[in-house]
Every structure is written in structure tokens, then in C-alpha cells.
């Protein structure tokens, strides 16, 4: 069977590759996540077992403005 986890979309105020690399690093540190980063649209789509709060808190570690956009 394919994945049973819901995909969540987040806004992260990224402006360059350094920003998206930082997001990649904090998400990999958390672990248990599959994600796509859309730098031009400043969006991060995450498929994970973690709660939305955990994901949001992790993304906020980068120090960038972060919002939850909804399920995808």
C-alpha cells in the first residue's frame, strides 16, 4: 500500500538556496519526513507521521516566517 500519511503544505519565507538548504537540514534532523521544497513559491510540502505543531516548530527553527497553509 502507498503512504498513509497526510500531506501538509507550509509557507516558509525563503529567498535563496541557502534558505531552502536550511529548511532541508532542519527537516532531515527531525527525521521521519518526506518533503518537497518549492523555492519560487516559498512553499514546503511535507508528508510525515509528525503532528502539524511539530512540523511548524521545526520549520520555525530556521528563524524564518512560517505558516501552515493546509492539507494537500
Amino acid at each position: 500500500s502507498s503512504s498513509s500519511f497526510q500531506k501538509h503544505e507550509f509557507f516558509v519565507d525563503m529567498t535563496c538556496e541557502g534558505c531552502s538548504n536550511a529548511v532541508t537540514r532542519v527537516l532531515n534532523k527531525l527525521g521521519g519526513v518526506q518533503f518537497d521544497i518549492n523555492l519560487p513559491n516559498k512553499k514546503v510540502c511535507i508528508e510525515s507521521e509528525h503532528s502539524i505543531d511539530t512540523l511548524l516548530e521545526t520549520l520555525k527553527k530556521t528563524g524564518k516566517t512560517t505558516n501552515y497553509l493546509g492539507e494537500k
Binding site: C16, E17, G18, N21, A22, R25, V26, T62, G63
Partner: protein, 78 residues
């Protein structure tokens, strides 16, 4: 109030937004008197209170933000 200075190498910054993010985020924390981040120098110069922060804690804060942080002046070249 005590103050110490440290230079931390920061890899992974590519634009001024990265610089500002680190300066704003770290600058807000307890025990940080001042922080200057250089994009060209790939480092952060931090003036901090050694009773509140340590070189290790400062390094970890920047590392947690998603950048590769290593102490720059703890092992001076001979």
C-alpha cells in the same frame, strides 16, 4: 555584566536574507549582547555573556537553524 567574543564559521549562507535571519534570531536570545554575520567571511562574530551561553551552545543554535556551524578561533593556526 560579563562579555566574551567568539567567531563561528557558518557554511551554507548564500544571500543577505540568510545573514539577517541569523542576526535577528540569535540576537534575540538570552545572553547575546551583539552579533555580526558576514556573508563574505562566512562567519558570525558574537559578543555574549559567558554565564548564559557557551561556545558550544552558540554553535548549536546556529546549527539548529540549518547552517553548518564550527568554531573558527578555538584552534588557532600555529
Amino acid at each position: 555584566m560579563e562579555a566574551k567574543s567568539i567567531v563561528i564559521s557558518v557554511e551554507g549562507m548564500t544571500c543577505n536574507s540568510c545573514v539577517q535571519t541569523i542576526e535577528q534570531h540569535v540576537g534575540k536570545l538570552n545572553g547575546i549582547h551583539d552579533i555580526k554575520v558576514s556573508l563574505e567571511g562566512k562567519n558570525a562574530v558574537i559578543i555574549y555573556d559567558p554565564k548564559v551561553q557557551t561556545p558550544e551552545s552558540l554553535q548549536e543554535i546556529i546549527d539548529d537553524m540549518g547552517f553548518d556551524a564550527t568554531p573558527a578561533n578555538s584552534n588557532p593556526e600555529p
